[in-house]
Symmetry: C2
Subunit: 233 residues, 2 copies
């Protein structure tokens, strides 16, 4: 996604890579994820990333022109994984035929799992200490997630005014963003209990709005909510 040789008209030819080089680039991203996760974007030094990857600073700059390009490539990698996660959770599922508790299970669990599997993700995306253009890279997927959630709410509560629906969506996403780190930081039973709390919060907030019971009969043909295509990507 980042090193497409045909992309970027303004750039010089993006240099032929050997298989070894491709591997190095992935290793660098792995190292960068760890360094970003534990230090944040600003505090993470390129020398530290190079050291973590087991190479010299000069070698690092053979593959990425600057620090931001590293973060960008890492962000692209995260975005791709998150997109896949989102698709697995949302696409092809008719949320009008599930109980709210089931909906929450299907949506929350993959998100938590993703954050556990990718420790650097939150550090890179949720921290406020990064250049604006880096934050922009995350916006497509943020928007896609927001749209998916808002669509879910619209399907179950078609009469909710648009402004209120937007607020409900925004608040719900903030809740997930706020509580997920708690679950990630915990382990074992405490982590599971935290996830349960997260779902309780969402249930208590959303139940009055979109109801607990399915809004569509279980034996009907697929409702429109699943066939409406997502607008981005």
């Amino acid at each position: 996604m980042t090193n497409d040789p045909t992309a970027g008209g303004g750039d010089q030819r993006p240099r032929r890579r050997q298989a070894r080089g491709e591997r190095r680039m992935a290793e660098i991203l792995d190292a960068a994820a760890g360094v970003f996760a534990s230090a944040g974007y600003e505090a993470a030094t390129t020398n530290a990333i190079a050291a973590a990857a087991g190479i010299s600073p000069g070698s690092l700059y053979q593959f990425y022109p600057n620090k931001q390009a590293i973060a960008q490539a890492l962000a692209d990698r995260f975005v791709a994984q998150l997109r896949a996660t989102r698709q697995a959770a949302f696409d092809g599922v008719d949320f009008t035929r599930l109980r709210l508790a089931e909906v929450l299970d299907r949506v929350v669990d993959p998100i938590v799992a993703f954050n556990i599997a990718n420790p650097g993700f939150k550090a890179l995306f949720a921290r406020p200490d990064m250049p604006a253009d880096l934050t922009e890279a995350t916006q497509p997927i943020q928007h896609a997630l927001h749209a998916a959630v808002e669509e879910l709410i619209a399907a179950r509560a078609p009469d909710l005014p648009a402004a209120q629906r937007r607020r409900t969506t925004q608040v719900s996403m903030r809740i997930v963003q706020a509580i997920t780190p708690l679950a990630v930081a915990a382990t074992g039973a405490e982590r599971a209990a935290t996830v349960v709390e997260l779902k309780k919060v969402l249930f208590g907030y959303l139940e009055p709005v979109i109801g607990d019971a399915p809004t569509a009969p279980a034996s009907r043909a697929p409702a429109r909510a699943r066939t409406r295509p997502t607008s981005d990507e």
Copy 2:
């Protein structure tokens, strides 16, 4: 609070200040609050703070020995205000005799108002890009808040297991921390609507735990919850 001449046995005598100097120190903190708010702790430069305060870097260091001391003094100032806010909201109030909706009004509104009145606060306390000892400065007040909330929950739900009570407290506070910035960023009706959403979230989460109705009869003598002294400060 920071420059108590009798405190800090290991330090040299902390220099006699003229009234002018005291004013300068306050001006420096005002300037620092703005710079920290817009740039974050790491990105904020001492030269920028000095410039914002209208003085030279050298003059700045006549009053604060280093950058962290500035942040520390600013944090102390915020903590004092937040403590006053918390006392006004919690002390002398018997939360067992109020409906949950009233409890939320009494607790949430001052917190939101405080965050609106002190834009630098969140920048200094909620950002992850600061030294650990700086974060520690915020812990007394964080703990006091946590204790106050946990006590509130304990008063209304005495049978809740301690571990669950702690989780409920932690999650509730995270929710406030996550949604409050949304309210601060909004204005007018949208801000009010966001605060309403925040209270809805808390109500939906807490109502199954601590109930909506008062847990103590309205005509009794003051219950224990208000007389138990707070342990810190």
